[in-house]
Symmetry: C2
Amino acid sequence: MGTIAKALQLLTHFSTDQPEIGLTRFVKLTGDDKATVHRRLGELRESGFLHQDPVTKAYRLGPAISRLEIVKERTFPARRSAMDAIRILNGKVAETAHVSVMQGTSGLSTLAHIDDQRHGIRVHVDANEILPYHATASGLVTLAHMDQSQAEKIIRQGLPAFTADTLTNSQQLRADLHQICATGHARCQGGFELDVVGIAVPLFDHHAKCAGAVAIAAPSSRMTASDERRILPDLKIAARSITESWQGRMPDD
Amino acid sequence: MGTIAKALQLLTHFSTDQPEIGLTRFVKLTGDDKATVHRRLGELRESGFLHQDPVTKAYRLGPAISRLEIVKERTFPARRSAMDAIRILNGKVAETAHVSVMQGTSGLSTLAHIDDQRHGIRVHVDANEILPYHATASGLVTLAHMDQSQAEKIIRQGLPAFTADTLTNSQQLRADLHQICATGHARCQGGFELDVVGIAVPLFDHHAKCAGAVAIAAPSSRMTASDERRILPDLKIAARSITESWQGRMPDD
DNA sequence: TATAGTTGGTTCATTATTCGAACCAACAGT
DNA sequence: ACTGTTGGTTCGAATAATGAACCAACTATA
């Protein structure tokens, strides 16, 4: 990993739970030397990607983020269209829904999500978390539909366990991926968080390459096999809607 | 400028007019070597800040931008509150309004803007453009209210002319800044774009440091002195509203 | 079918930049 | 006065960025 990637990785530590981070905390989070982290933070600040509180000296996400997002949404309105589609989806199936897109080899990042508001027990999606490829329904379905070579690269990076149920056997994973690719949807129970079951279908870009996934997440206890069958068509409708709004194209098969 | 800043500067070339940029075009824009630019683009892509079209190979802004913006807006909802305030402002004065925030030493970046919809001739704000400190009303008022030391640093960087009317004399600028600081608002006619007059008032963060400005921009021909007097109180109301929503604090004077 | 001009991407020796242990300064609590 | 914080700085050593030259694929032109 080069200097640029290491610097940008600092930004990934921000979350809704941790919107302000000081130098010392960054040093603990990264394990790098204080001087190194300090210089990187300084460059990010000068570039507008971080804002430093003039008194507390803590860092937070800066105005350059907003500026780029304005350009991005105005030219490729990914978030808006994703939000529209899952709002409809949530209306139909009454469970937490989310849209995630590939972000390099580390996992998926959540672009839009809507939490189920009708049940007492419901799954909460953290929009900040990076979803691993091998331990979530969205990740699995994306992995199954992407280039073989890239998928292999990701698998060979290692399959860390997040729960006792995480699939860590790469041979088994490869077999599952074939199955997922054939059916066009993935299911994952408790691989990332216990007692949560996810069902996901893939999204494609304008060259019919897999770009991410749209998924439903629900407590395992509530999701029966017949529920899953009922949900699947709605998921596919949402996927088609999102894919089309991106000028994406479903692959031929 | 370090490697990190140079890499991030690549991202600033994206705009609504230019949402996709290829390697060769980047090389022309930056003047750096092709191999260098290619490596930087690769790191930005791996970090999710760029997305590369698998077929055309062109680069566009990536999903990491959206992810960070979600966190930023959920924890420090700068854009939403700014938008609310200028919508009201626009309703009252019927001219183009915008909110911009400090972005390092290069200038201000526009966070929210609303174009006047009632007049035939109106000013269009490009949300992507970086507004120079010395040639815009927003820039001048920010420069006048920031730390003296930082303002001096910016002035000494040089004062490029954008039009024949741009103020390029640093001695004159310093005098004007004192005047602006005393009155609490800045006025700039044709300094950045000819035939455009801007009026701006400062915004402050939660330690009463100047963080940016809210401004009205109108064709010079339409803006009389009495119009300006009429607008000013509305601008100050908007500024107080935005500052308060950021948990900001007006300075004592 | 050459040919020349595109495009994106790669190699590797040279060079400049990043790195990090040790250091400073300000502040808070004991 | 001591101790543990905090953020920030220095400078020689080590590492990573650099860029001229190269490759490969594609397109238009001769």
